[in-house]
């Protein structure tokens, strides 16, 4: 096997690492912006596939297949995002005689249409949210045919998923307002204007179950993940296991996910997503037919390497694990380090990372494709790195994650690291009292930094400019200037 990774960033690095540990040669592909990216340096081969815009590179099937052919790759891993959920890509890969590391294209198509996915879930006896299974027709006059609709309601793109293509309407008026732009956005984003309505589950928790299927009806479950800390439906902090659910609930959703996978003859990794309402009832929402960003928390509590298992399955066609091999120990939490400025509406930031220190020590895993000198642009998504902490229990994992986030040093652009620490330090988070509205409700502590911190910042700035004026840049680079030596001697003398 030789594996081409049709992706970039940390997930491309993640997949290359798995291949290296399995002695499988790898092919990286890259857009112009990524021509020196870490994944291109870690892979055995690296090929350019086009200009910076994703549509002309990472979404360009033709160029990807050309790269596979040119390097004699025998398999393609799509990662997450980009073409990972596109059945046409899976089909094209398989038609080119290559192994597609993901579900069968038919499955992807069935799950990609959220309406048919709901039907599949209902067939497998999963609890599906009440509401219309049929698309909202083009010329529907809403008030007339849905007079008993309850608000707020979600307007969802049938071809959306992963938190994309969702709009909220709080009233009939808003709904009419939203429907058109939702259709437009759905058309633009997914090439399909179909939308449908789904009741909003208030104070819902987002809990998902990891599955791996052999494509012939055998499906393993790897426990669940809690992903309720979301901003605009984008997950920010994820953990495993889900805190504070009963063993019966846990068993029930694992069985649900397994049954759905079995009924689909699901192949490869997938995630079955549920909402858990305030009343404790679970509702199926969708299946993500690919590796997830948050897969490491499952890996850390099971000790298994999901990407390796996924690749081994694609090689042999056989699951070499049994359900009883999948055991759980402790708790793991992932925090997404993003190039976003929490003090400025989480707008994307960009810049050159002039200094970088990722955290280390016991129980900490970092998945990232950063290096000192990398330039972060707004061309792709804002994920910089994932910091994952494992602990004997949830409390220990939180403490450890907090400690690790303190160690993160990223010079050159603003990130959400301080915000992540505020979230995990908050009382609701610490007590596991979280739902998907958590981030909308949290008040960013608007406090100024402590006086000693601003004073130190002022001193640092003043000393820096002082030395620059006195000595150009010389002193700044010297380790042994007389002023420093003098200060050292005084420190010793005045002890």
């Amino acid at each position: 096997m030789k594996l081409l990774i049709a992706n970039r960033g940390e997930i491309a690095v993640r997949i290359i690492r798995a291949c290296q540990e399995l002695d499988i040669p790898t092919v990286a592909v890259y857009s112009e912006a990524d021509r020196s990216a870490l994944h291109t340096r870690y892979a055995d081969e690296a090929l350019p596939i086009g200009p910076t815009p994703a549509a002309e590179s990472y979404l360009n099937m033709e160029r990807l297949l050309e790269a596979a052919s040119k390097t004699s790759a025998t398999a393609v891993h799509p990662g997450y995002g980009f073409l990972s959920e596109n059945p046409d890509f899976g089909r094209a890969v398989e038609e080119a005689g290559l192994t597609f590391i993901g579900p069968r294209p038919e499955t992807m198509a069935e799950l990609g249409d959220k309406l048919s996915a709901r039907k599949a879930a209902r067939r497998a006896n999963l609890p599906v949210l009440p509401g219309s299974d049929i698309p909202l027709s083009q010329d529907l006059v809403l008030e007339r045919i849905e007079p008993d609709l309850e608000y707020p309601v979600l307007v969802k793109a049938a071809s959306g998923g992963g938190g994309r293509g969702i709009r909220l309407a709080r009233s009939a008026e808003e709904l009419i307002d939203v429907v058109d732009s939702a259709r437009e956005e759905a058309k633009a984003a997914f090439g399909d204007a179909t939308i449908y309505l789904e009741p909003l589950v208030q104070k819902a928790r987002h809990i998902e179950v990891q599955i791996l299927g052999d494509g012939r009806g055998k499906v393993l479950t790897f426990g669940e993940r809690e992903c309720s800390i979301q901003r605009r439906h984008q997950k920010l902090i994820e953990e495993a296991p889900a805190p504070d659910i009963s063993p019966a609930e846990r068993e029930c959703i694992h069985q649900d996910a397994k049954r759905l996978g079995e009924s689909l003859h699901y192949r490869s990794l997938g995630t079955v997503e549920f909402l858990r309402g305030e009343d404790g009832r679970f509702h199926f929402i969708e299946v993500n037919p690919r590796i997830q960003v948050e897969h490491p928390v499952t890996e850390m509590i099971t000790g298994l390497d999901l990407v390796k298992e996924q690749i081994k399955l694609a090689v042999s066609g056989e699951l070499n694990l049994a359900q009883q091999d999948i055991r759980f120990q402790g708790a793991a939490i992932e925090a997404r380090v993003l190039a976003e400025d929490p003090e400025d509406h989480f707008l994307p930031t960009s810049g050159n990372i002039s200094y970088l220190k990722e955290p280390g020590g016991p129980g900490i895993r970092v998945d990232s494709s950063l290096y000192q000198g990398i330039t972060i642009t707004a061309d792709y998504d804002s994920l910089l790195a994932k910091v994952i902490a494992w602990g004997e229990n949830r409390q220990a994992a939180i403490k450890r994650l907090h400690r690790a986030l303190q160690e993160v040093q990223i010079g050159g652009l603003k990130t959400d690291v301080a915000f992540l620490r505020q979230v995990i330090d908050s009382h609701p988070y610490q007590t596991g009292n979280i739902d998907t509205s958590f981030l909308d409700q949290i008040q960013l502590s608007d406090r100024e930094p402590e006086e000693s911190v601003t004073r130190d910042a002022a001193l640092a700035a003043a000393l820096h400019i002082h030395r620059k004026r006195r000595n150009g840049n010389r002193i700044d680079r010297s380790r042994r200037d007389p002023w420093q030596q003098q200060a050292w001697r005084e420190q010793l003398a005045t002890r």
Partner: protein, 164 residues
Amino acid sequence: MSNYRVFVGNRKYDITVMKDHLLVNGDPFSIDMESLNGNGLHVLRHPNRNIEAYLESSSSGCYQVQIGGEHINAEVNIGLDKEQNVEAAGDDHLQAPMPGLIIDVLVEPGDEVQEGDTLVVQEAMKMQMKLRAPRTGTVQAVHTQPGSQVEKNERLISLDSNDQ
């Protein structure tokens, strides 16, 4: 002896650097700073505490300092007598709130716009966003076009300043 007045948020620090000691707002202070690499990492050594500080200077006298995960803006004025001149944030222009791609420009010079009208559609990362008129007025100039890559705070549209 050199004097610096440093503004951090609402706080003001008058710092006097002498041959081998410092004054902060008139009080003697013992501290030492060392650059740990050429990339901005410094350590501030207090008599009983070492603090990491990451320094970037954006323009003359303007620093962004990271300490303990906080991003702090510090503005240094040389000498103690100058006061900070804060320019009033104008609403005569529409600026890009972030770096990204301009998808659509909905107005031309001469168009009358109402406060809140969408003037420009910009995309960055997974999001599209509508950039709206900061006030009612007449479009004086359009500085961008669909397909342009823009930087944060880049001026996109100017409104006629005589309208109000």
